[in-house]
Symmetry: C2
């Protein structure tokens, strides 16, 4: 099981990857067979589908900031509340999210669940 600090560093690196426009750094955090449900309630994304989603976010200049310190667990998962901002069609969009990430033994993310609903997005 990855250490708390390994998992928390990965979540921070996910934030930092967006803030440095580095989609490759973001994708490097995920296992090849990673499954993404973002937002929760939408169809699962494969790693390839997720990569397109991430690259679009980076292209939109998405900026992420933690809303509270990253939380670990007593298992192989960690979670964080954060805020995403980006500009689309001249409008500034702000989205509140909680992401939960589950890890494999090597410290790669195998599952990401993104909790945000229609009401958590403003400016759209």
């Amino acid at each position: 099981m990855p250490t708390q600090s390994t998992m928390k560093a990965a979540l921070q690196a996910y934030i930092d990857g967006f803030n440095t426009d580095d989609a490759n750094a973001i994708m490097a955090l995920f296992a090849d067979n990673a499954v993404i449900e973002d937002p929760v309630g939408s169809p699962l994304k494969s790693r390839a589908e997720f990569e397109a989603f991430i690259r679009q976010g980076v292209a939109f200049g998405a900026r992420l900031s933690l809303a509270a310190p990253i939380r670990g667990s007593h298992g192989n998962a960690a979670a964080m509340a954060f805020i995403v901002t980006f500009v689309q069609d001249g409008r500034r969009i702000i989205s509140n999210s909680v992401d939960v990430m589950t890890f494999d033994e090597s410290g790669k993310i195998t599952r990401m669940n993104g909790y945000w609903g229609p009401d958590d997005v403003t400016g759209a």
Copy 2:
């Protein structure tokens, strides 16, 4: 599927239940067959085991405050980052958590996952 506002109200009621020392109000939010993993990585708690856990928290005078607005989803789940404080053996304990709650059709919580690790508790 419960509405976003129904799910968010339940998470707020979970917070309010602790802050008014009302274990019955907290337990009324959960379905009879609810399963709780709090913290994630610990053995699953049945509703009865969870009730003992909640009543102990209330007895310790646990106070909960949101660290960021409650998030919904596009499905039957909602999540929140919050801070728990209580006093045990004269020490003030502060714990950072993210809880994810999943709901049934009637708006009762069927699953709660609590994300907090050993490093997220101070004062213990």
